[in-house]
C-alpha cells in the first residue's frame, strides 16, 4: 500500500493522554453502578487437596455482608470443562472457579464474600475459615524436570523445532565448543492496574461487564459459554487497560466470579484483585535451556543443540516457543532442538510479553556470546559471520530482515568499535565497565480484523473496532491511520475500542494489533471515502465538480480545481447533499489482502540489536546499567513516539528480567512468597539509565497490508542477554541464571 505520510509515521502524542492523566479515563474498577456489591476473594493456602469444611458463620455476621459464595452454594454454571476454554487455547482441562472442592493450586479461589461495602467484604473474607484435606503436591521445578513431557495436543501457535544436518556428530567434531544449562526464574506480569471486573445486570437481564482484559470478545465468549448464556446477553467493555503484558490474555477468575455472583444476586458486583492476588494466576514459566554450540576455529557455527523445558500446571499444558529462535536466526548447517514441559501443582504458566522469545532468545544470546569468546571473536562480528538471510530452520525466505542495518547503526551510535575485547579491561576507579550486545527476534504477526468507519453530521469521523489499547498507543495510531486514509485532521477523529459489540478484533497480544487493526481501519476509511464520493456523484443536488474524478478529500474537506478556481465542500454539507445523516463502512483486513500469495511462503519477523553498558563493583556485586541502546527493524513505524515508548518499556522489563525480577516459589507449600511490590522487585528509576531507541529503515510491503510489523514485544528479546553479556565483559564471570543478583 502506497502510503503518503502526513499522519502515519508522525510522532503524535497519545490522543487519550489527557483523559488518562486527568482521571477521566475509566478503568474496570471505576464503574459505579447503583447498588453495587463488593466481592473479595478468599484464596487457598494449600497447593493440592480438598475442601473439607467452610466456616463462614463469622463472616456472615459482619455487618453489610450479603453472601459468602463457595462451590457449595454457587448457582449453576456450565458443567463441561470445555465450556471454560478461552481464546488462548491452552490444551488440557481449564480451571473452573468454585466448581468443586478440589484444590489444584495454591491461591485458588475458594470463596467470594459479597458485601455492601468493600471494607465489610474484606473484613469478612479475612474471617472465612476453611479446613482442607491436604494431598501431596510438587511445586519444585527441579523435581518437575524429571517428569517432563511433550503434550500430545499443542497450542496452535506452537512451532515444532525442525532439525537440520547431524547436530550431534557436528558437535563432536567441532574445534570449539561450549555447553551449559541456562535458567530463567518465574516472573509475574504485574501491570500497574490490578485485575478487576465490574459486572452490571441491566434491566433487560443482560450483562455489561467492565473487565481488565486484552480481549473483550474473548471474555464475552468465555462468559457466555461458562455461564450458559447467549453471546448477546453479555457485553464486555475495556476501553482503558492499565497494562497487562499478557496477564489479561485469558479470562482471570475475577471476571467469572463477578459475573456469576451478579447473576445470582441480581445486583452489580465488583471484584478487584489485590497485588498479592496478582500472584495467584498467570506468570511467565520458569525455564531451563541446555545449550551446546560447536564452531570451527574461524568462528563458523557448525552445530547448535538446544533443549528447553518450561513449567506448566498439572491440569493444562502451557507451551512456549523457546528453543527455535537460534535455529531460525543463525546460519548453522547442523542444528537440533527439543522442547518439553514440566508439570507442577501451580496455576498454569502463561504468556508474558514476548512469550517464548523473551526466555529463549535471551538465554540463547548469552550462549552465543560465550561462543564468540570461545572463538576469540568480537560478539558483533561473530553474529555477522553467522548471519542468516533466510529463516534457516524452515529454509524459507523472509519478507525482510534489516538486522544487519540494526547491528551497524546500533554499533555506530553506541561506539561499539571502541570496545576492548578483553573482559575486565575497562575500568573507572573501583568499577569495572562492560559492554555487551545481543540480537533480538520476534514474530511479525497478523490476524484478521474488522473495523468500522462512520462519518457523522458533525463532520467527525468515528472509528470502531473491538481492539484493546492496553497502554500501547492503539487509540493514537488508529486515529493516525484513519486521518491518513480518509484525509481528515486528527482532531476530528474519534476512536472507540474495547467493547465486545464493536467489529471483530482478536485479543490484543503478540504485537499484531498495529498491523492488523491498522489495516482494517485503513480499509474501512478508504471504503467510506469511496462511498461518500460515489453517493455524491449519484446525488442530483451535488455541484458538478464533485463528480470529477479529480476531486480530493484532504484536511476533512472535499476540494477540486475548476477553471473558475478552487472549490471546496465541507463534509457535513457533502453528507446533506448526498442525502444522508451519516455514512458508514466496515471492512475486514486479511493477511492475503494484497493478493500476494508469496507471503504465505515467506517467514516474517521483527529484529533488533541491543547494546548495553554496565558498571560493576566486583567486590560488592553491584551492577549498574549505565547505557542501553536498542536498534529495531520493525517495518513501517506508525508513530515513532509511541513505538519508542514501547521499546523503552520493554527494555525496563528486560532489565528486571536480567537483574531483579523473580517470583520466589516456596515449594513446600507451592506458593510464591514475595507477593507484593516491596519484595517483588521491578526496576526502580535508579536502575534505568537514559535509553536510546533507533528504528532502522525497513520497507516491507509483504509482511502486512500497511508494511507494519508491531513493536510491543521485540524490546524484551535480547535486552536481558545484552546486560548479562555486558556483566561478563566487565567481570570475566559468566552468569547463566537470570536474574543476576548480589551474591549470585
Amino acid at each position: 500500500m502506497n502510503v503518503i505520510s502526513t499522519h502515519i509515521g508522525q510522532p503524535v502524542s497519545r490522543i487519550d493522554g489527557v483523559a488518562k492523566v486527568t482521571g477521566q479515563a475509566k478503568y474496570a474498577a471505576e464503574a459505579h453502578p447503583p447498588g453495587m456489591l463488593y466481592g473479595v476473594v478468599v484464596n487457598s493456602p494449600i497447593a493440592r487437596g480438598r475442601i473439607e469444611t467452610i466456616h463462614d458463620a463469622e463472616a456472615r455476621q459482619v455487618p453489610g455482608v450479603i453472601e459468602v459464595m463457595t462451590h457449595l452454594n454457587r448457582p449453576h454454571a456450565a458443567l463441561f470443562e470445555k465450556s471454560y476454554m478461552d481464546g488462548l487455547g491452552v490444551p488440557g482441562v481449564p480451571y473452573r472457579p468454585l466448581h468443586d472442592g478440589e484444590i489444584h493450586f495454591n491461591g485458588q479461589p475458594v470463596a467470594v464474600v459479597l458485601a455492601e461495602t468493600f471494607e465489610a467484604a474484606r473484613e469478612a473474607a479475612m474471617v472465612v475459615r476453611v479446613d482442607y484435606e491436604r494431598w501431596p503436591h510438587n511445586a519444585d521445578f527441579e523435581v518437575a524436570l524429571h517428569q517432563k513431557y511433550m503434550p500430545s495436543k499443542t497450542r496452535s501457535n506452537y512451532v515444532p523445532p525442525k532439525p537440520r544436518g547431524d547436530a550431534a556428530a557436528a558437535y563432536a567434531l567441532s574445534a570449539v565448543k561450549i555447553e551449559g544449562r541456562y535458567h530463567l526464574a518465574p516472573e509475574h506480569h504485574n501491570p500497574m492496574e490490578m485485575h478487576a471486573t465490574t459486572a452490571i445486570v441491566e434491566d433487560d437481564g443482560t450483562f455489561t461487564v467492565w473487565d481488565k482484559t486484552q480481549g473483550p470478545q474473548a471474555v464475552q465468549a468465555y462468559l457466555a459459554s461458562a455461564l450458559s448464556l447467549s453471546k448477546d446477553q453479555v457485553r464486555v467493555r475495556n476501553p482503558y487497560v492499565g497494562g497487562a503484558f499478557g496477564s489479561g490474555l485469558r479470562a482471570v477468575y475475577n471476571v467469572f466470579l463477578a459475573t456469576l455472583t451478579a447473576e445470582m444476586l441480581k445486583r452489580a458486583v465488583r471484584v478487584t484483585l489485590t497485588r498479592s492476588q496478582m500472584f495467584t494466576h498467570a506468570f511467565r514459566p520458569e525455564a531451563v535451556m541446555d545449550i551446546a554450540l560447536g564452531a570451527s576455529r574461524d568462528g563458523t557455527l557448525q552445530s547448535m543443540i538446544v533443549k528447553g523445558v518450561t513449567d506448566t500446571s498439572r491440569f493444562e499444558h502451557n507451551i512456549e516457543n523457546i528453543v527455535i529462535w537460534g535455529l531460525i536466526n543463525y546460519k548453522c548447517p547442523n542444528a537440533t532442538a527439543d522442547y518439553k514441559v514440566a508439570p507442577r501443582d501451580t496455576y498454569t504458566s502463561s504468556d508474558m510479553r514476548a512469550p517464548g522469545a523473551a526466555t529463549g532468545v535471551n538465554l540463547l544470546e548469552m550462549a552465543i556470546d560465550e561462543m564468540a569468546y570461545a572463538c576469540s571473536m568480537d560478539p558483533l562480528a561473530f553474529r555477522l559471520h553467522n548471519y542468516s538471510d533466510i529463516d534457516a530452520m524452515h529454509d524459507m525466505p523472509l519478507t525482510s530482515k534489516a538486522l544487519r542495518d540494526a547491528m551497524a547503526q546500533g554499533a555506530q551510535h553506541f561506539g561499539w568499535h571502541d570496545r576492548s575485547m578483553m573482559p575486565g579491561s575497562m575500568r573507572d576507579g573501583r568499577e569495572l565497565i562492560g559492554w555487551g550486545m545481543a540480537t533480538g527476534i520476534w514474530d511479525a504477526m497478523f490476524s484478521p480484523t474488522s473495523a468500522r468507519a462512520r462519518l457523522g453530521q458533525d463532520g467527525r469521523l468515528h472509528i470502531a473496532t473491538a481492539a484493546s489499547d492496553i497502554g500501547t498507543g492503539t487509540y493514537t495510531i488508529l486515529a493516525q491511520t484513519a486521518a491518513e486514509a480518509f484525509g481528515m485532521p486528527l482532531d476530528r477523529i474519534d476512536v472507540e475500542l474495547g467493547d465486545s459489540t464493536l467489529p471483530e478484533c482478536p485479543t490484543e497480544g503478540g504485537s499484531w494489533t498495529a498491523a492488523s487493526a491498522g489495516a482494517a481501519v485503513w480499509l474501512a476509511c478508504l471504503s467510506l471515502r469511496r462511498k461518500l464520493i460515489d453517493m455524491l456523484a449519484r446525488s442530483e443536488n451535488a455541484p458538478p465538480w464533485v463528480k470529477q474524478d479529480t476531486v480530493t478529500l484532504e484536511g476533512g474537506i472535499l476540494h477540486d480545481m475548476t477553471e473558475n478556481g478552487p472549490v471546496s465542500l465541507s463534509l457535513p454539507d457533502a453528507l446533506s447533499l448526498a442525502g444522508y445523516d451519516a455514512l458508514e463502512a466496515e471492512e475486514t483486513a486479511k493477511p492475503g489482502l494484497r493478493g500476494k500469495i508469496s507471503q504465505m511462503r515467506k517467514a516474517r519477523f521483527t529484529h533488533s540489536a541491543v547494546f548495553c553498558e554496565v558498571r560493576v563493583d566486583p567486590e560488592l556485586d553491584t551492577v549498574r546499567v549505565t547505557r542501553l541502546l536498542n536498534a529495531v527493524a520493525a517495518g513501517r513505524i506508525m508513530n515513532p513516539k509511541t513505538a519508542a515508548s514501547q521499546i523503552r518499556g520493554a527494555m525496563v522489563m528486560a532489565t528486571g528480567m536480567a537483574l531483579h525480577e523473580e517470583s520466589l516459589m516456596d515449594e513446600r507449600v507451592g506458593r510464591f512468597m514475595n507477593h507484593n511490590f516491596a519484595e517483588y522487585h521491578i526496576p526502580a528509576h535508579a536502575d534505568i539509565p537514559d535509553m536510546d531507541v533507533l528504528f532502522v529503515n525497513e520497507h516491507d510491503d509483504e509482511v502486512s497490508p500497511l508494511g507494519v510489523k508491531g513493536i510491543g514485544e521485540i524490546g524484551m528479546c535480547g535486552t536481558a542477554a545484552a546486560i548479562a553479556n555486558a556483566i561478563f565483559h566487565a567481570t570475566g564471570r559468566r552468569y547463566r541464571n537470570l536474574p543476576i543478583m548480589p551474591g549470585a
Binding site: 493456602p45 471494607e119 474484606r122 473484613e123 479475612m126 474471617v127 498479592s276 576507579g429 573501583r430 568499577e431 558498571r615 563493583d617 567486590e619 560488592l620 556485586d621 553491584t622 549498574r624 537483574l659 531483579h660 520466589l664 516459589m665 516456596d666 513446600r668 507449600v669 506458593r671 512468597m673 514475595n674 507477593h675 507484593n676 516491596a678 519484595e679 522487585h681 526496576p683 526502580a684 528509576h685 535508579a686 536502575d687 543478583m741 548480589p742 551474591g743 549470585a744
Partner: protein, 335 residues
C-alpha cells in the same frame, strides 16, 4: 483489614492510658499495610499525631533532639541534621522512597516490623505474628532473612536503615508510659528473638517513643552509610553498614559501627569496635573488625550470600569513612 475503633488523644496521659489490644498510629506506612494484610489486628488505633513530638531542637551537650513525629524526610533535610549528623541523613535517604519518607516518622521507623515474607502472609506459620505456630521462613525462601542474632523460633531481619545509623551514633530513645518517662540506649532498644520473637523491642504496653536524642558525633567527614540491596533504590538492605570514625592525623582514635540487613536487630559488637581504637587504617585491621562483627553468623537455605558479601561491604565502608568520602545516596556509584 478488620474493624477497629479510633481515637486521637492530645495528651500523653490519655494516649498511654489505653490498655487492651491497641496500636499507635504515626505515619501509618507500616501499620496500615500490616492491617490490610491482616497481620496486625488492633481493636483500637490510637493516632498519636496530635501529641507534641514534632520538633527538632538543640541539646545542651551539643547533641540534637529529634521528635518522634518528625517525618523521615524532614529529619534528613533538617539543617542541623545535615550539618552535624550527615550519617543519619544519609541512612534515612538510603531507605524507602521519597513518598514513604514524607509520611514515615522517626518513631514509626524505630518500631517498624520485619519484612519477612512469612510474617506478612497470614496463611503461613510465623512465631512472630502468631506465637507458637512455627517459623516458615526456616527452610523457606529466606534470602532476605537474618544471619546474626537468630534463634530457632525466628530468623527475621530488622529492616530499618535509619536505626543502623542511630546505633552507630549511640542514640538514646525517650519513652513515655503509664508509669512516667524513661530512656534507653538504642542498642538496647530492640530485642533478639530468642524464644519470644513476638517482642520486637522493649516497649511496654501503653509506652510511646517521644524522641530520639543524639549525642555529639565528632566524626567530621569520617563516616558513611553503605547499603547493598537487590535494586539500586527502594529496596531493603541485603547488607548495610553505618560507620563513624574519630580520626586524628590519619589515625583512628575510636570508631563506631553497626550492621543492617544482617541481624534480627541493629547489629553492633563492642569488641569489634574496640579493635579500631588508636589504630591506623589497614586492610588487615578492617578484615579483623569484619570478622568480629560477623562472628557467629549462620545462614539458612537462601541467605549464604549475605555472609559472603558482608565482609567486603564492611571493609569498603570502613575505607570510605577512613578516607573521608562518605557514600552518596544520589549517585549510585559506590566509591
Amino acid at each position: 483489614m478488620r474493624s477497629f475503633s479510633y481515637s486521637r488523644p492530645t495528651s500523653f496521659e490519655e494516649a498511654c492510658r489505653n490498655a487492651g489490644h491497641t496500636r499507635f498510629l504515626a505515619g501509618g506506612t507500616n501499620l496500615i499495610d500490616l492491617m490490610k494484610s491482616d497481620v496486625e489486628r488492633p481493636a483500637h488505633v490510637i493516632d498519636i499525631k496530635s501529641l507534641p513530638m514534632h520538633h527538632i531542637a538543640d541539646r545542651p551537650d551539643g547533641g540534637l533532639h529529634l521528635g518522634a513525629l518528625v517525618t523521615n524526610a524532614d529529619t534528613a533535610a533538617h539543617p542541623l541534621v545535615v550539618e552535624r549528623y550527615p550519617l543519619l541523613a544519609s541512612a534515612i535517604l538510603a531507605g524507602a522512597s521519597p513518598q514513604i519518607r514524607n509520611m514515615a516518622t522517626n518513631g514509626g521507623n524505630l518500631n517498624q516490623r520485619t519484612r519477612c515474607h512469612y510474617f506478612y502472609d497470614p496463611a503461613m506459620a510465623c512465631n512472630k505474628r502468631s506465637p507458637g505456630t512455627g517459623c516458615a521462613a526456616r527452610g523457606g525462601r529466606n534470602r532476605i532473612m537474618a544471619v546474626l542474632g537468630t534463634s530457632d523460633a525466628c530468623i527475621a531481619t530488622f529492616p530499618s536503615d535509619m536505626c543502623i545509623a542511630l546505633a552507630a551514633l549511640n542514640a538514646t530513645i525517650n519513652l513515655h508510659g503509664p508509669d512516667g518517662e524513661r530512656t534507653v540506649g538504642v542498642r538496647d532498644y530492640h530485642c533478639l528473638p530468642g524464644d519470644t520473637p513476638w517482642r520486637d523491642n522493649i516497649l511496654q504496653p501503653g509506652e510511646i517513643v517521644t524522641a530520639i536524642d543524639l549525642p555529639p558525633a565528632p566524626f567530621g567527614p569520617h563516616h558513611t552509610y553503605l547499603k547493598v540491596r537487590d535494586r539500586l533504590s527502594f529496596a531493603f538492605a541485603i547488607v548495610s553498614v553505618a560507620v563513624g570514625l574519630c580520626m586524628k592525623d590519619g589515625r583512628i582514635e575510636r570508631g563506631s559501627i553497626a550492621l543492617g540487613g544482617m541481624g534480627t536487630k541493629p547489629w553492633c559488637v563492642p569488641h569489634a569496635e574496640a579493635l579500631l581504637e588508636d589504630q591506623l587504617p589497614s586492610h588487615s585491621l578492617f578484615r579483623d573488625v569484619a570478622e568480629r562483627l560477623l562472628h557467629g553468623a549462620v545462614a539458612d537455605r537462601d541467605n549464604t550470600a549475605k555472609i559472603r558479601l558482608a565482609p567486603r561491604v564492611i571493609e569498603r565502608a570502613l575505607w570510605q569513612a577512613a578516607i573521608g568520602t562518605p557514600q552518596s545516596q544520589t549517585d549510585k556509584a559506590i566509591r
